[in-house]
């Protein structure tokens, strides 16, 4: 009996790996996932007040420290607002001059973006994925970027009929081509291998400037550039918290604190699109 169950498990693993995403086992998983969805949604709704209370308590402990940081940031931002206003006037004039139409990050997805509830959260640092309550029936495809109002969450890595698997930025396999919004230094955002949700901006050459407090955003697909990406450009990722370098490493050591709190995702927006995918180099 036990042998049969072990054999059945091994056969399932083998078939699942070898078959196409439209295969029998994927179909079974899709149907099962659809059947489980109402229960997961109900459990999430019931647990949400308790979860929010837990998060609120945890947040209180960090609030004081965050308050000090925010005061400093507020002062800095006030200066930047003045500069930005001037910059915006200049930009508007230049746009008129060049007749250049530049859309913001999410504007291209206004009609096709899908809002989805998060059904299951990451199991641990080992498996940094979430399951969302929307799939191919909503127009979601593999490699679609997933965001919240705070910034980038990750990308869709598996799509079933009514559910999809999203690999978070904190996953070991996640790589996002990004740039420093202030200095335009380009690099790749990866997880920092530590216990926290810290990221680091890798592959930033030492001759490029990156400052603490700078905002890191997605660089998008850059034609001809060696660091290309599926992610649309200008999606906020996080803030630079530490910049360092060593003699042996050709790149800078840039630590980034993500804007998104990956531990309490409730709803996400999938930037679905009907356009053909960009070709990776």
């Amino acid at each position: 009996m036990v042998g049969l169950l072990v054999l059945a498990s091994l056969v399932m693993i083998t078939v699942y790996f070898r078959e196409s995403p439209n295969g029998t086992l994927h179909g079974f998983q899709s149907a099962g996932s659809t059947a489980l969805r109402p229960f997961e949604v109900a459990a999430n709704r019931i647990a949400r007040p308790f979860h929010d209370a837990y998060n609120w308590t945890a947040d209180v402990f960090h609030a004081k420290q965050e308050n000090e940081q925010l005061k400093e940031e507020n002062a800095r931002l006030r200066q930047q607002v003045v500069l930005a206003a001037t910059g915006a006037q200049e930009a508007a004039a230049l746009q008129k001059l060049l007749k250049l139409k530049r859309a913001s990050a999410y504007q291209d997805y206004a009609k096709t973006a899908v809002t989805a509830e998060v059904l299951s959260n990451p199991v641990g640092q080992f498996d940094q994925t979430i399951v969302i309550a929307a799939g191919s029936s909503s127009g979601i495809r593999v490699h679609d970027a997933v965001v919240t109002k705070r910034g980038l969450v990750g990308q869709v890595t598996k799509v079933l009929h009514d559910t999809a698997l999203v690999t978070l930025l904190t996953d070991k396999e996640s790589n996002v081509t990004a740039k420093d919004h202030q200095t335009t230094a380009i690099g790749v955002v990866r997880h920092s291998q530590g216990p926290e949700d810290l990221l680091f901006l890798d592959r930033v050459l030492k001759n490029k400037r990156v400052n603490e407090g700078d905002t890191v955003i997605t660089a998008g697909q850059m034609s001809g550039h060696r660091l290309s990406s599926f992610y649309p450009r200008n999606i906020p990722i996080g803030r630079v918290t530490r910049v360092g370098q060593t003699d042996v490493d050709p790149f800078q050591d840039v630590q980034v604190m993500p804007f998104v709190d990956f531990s309490s995702l409730q709803y996400v927006v999938v930037l679905a699109s009907h356009k053909p995918r960009p070709q990776m180099p």
Partner: protein
């Protein structure tokens, strides 16, 4: 046999939903509790090896479906865990007071190691340091905290009905 099997099926369905939606979000000391694993240990220890293996297979299948993971991956690990704990219960452990705590601690470690090995064999990322050093101590502690309430619940759920009172003829 059918009634306990139906109870176990329903129990693991409920526990899996709880695990993926609520329990996995609880992160303390770097780890998060594994309610499915603790429940499986409780069921296997009280119901035996075959029951434990089948329950493990079912629980693994539900988890793989709910998390959109590789089908069969968790089933394989939990089938073996259920069978092994069931055998321990049948042979030596069932009546010992420390058996639940010992079983949960050992199975948590073996499950983490087995999971790492499986990921490695499937050529998926298998960060041993993260799993064994950063996550495992917290997960063991949280699983041990869950052990007694879960065992009490499982014992109550699978308790055999009380035998009818014996009739004594007098005179």
């Amino acid at each position: 046999m059918i009634a306990p099997a139906a109870k176990a099926a329903a129990l693991f369905f409920f526990v899996t939903i709880l695990q993926v939606t609520i329990v996995s979000e609880i992160g303390i000391l770097g780890g998060s509790p594994d309610l499915v694993l603790v429940t499986l240990v409780a069921v296997a220890l009280t119901q035996g090896s075959i029951f434990g293996a089948v329950a493990g297979f079912w629980a693994g299948l539900l988890l793989d479906v709910a998390r959109l993971g590789t089908l069969g991956f968790t089933s394989l690990l939990l089938t073996l865990a259920g069978f092994w704990i069931g055998r321990y219960g049948e042979t030596t452990g069932r009546d010992r007071a420390h058996a639940p705590l010992l079983s949960v601690a050992v199975v948590t470690v073996l499950y983490a190691v087995g999971s790492l090995v499986m990921h490695f064999l499937l050529r998926e990322p298998a960060p041993a340091r993260v799993v064994l050093i950063e996550e495992l101590p917290g997960t063991i502690a949280l699983n041990l905290l869950l052990t007694f309430p879960v065992f009490a619940l499982v014992r109550r759920l699978f308790a055999a009905p009380a035998p009818p009172p014996e009739v004594e003829f007098v005179g």
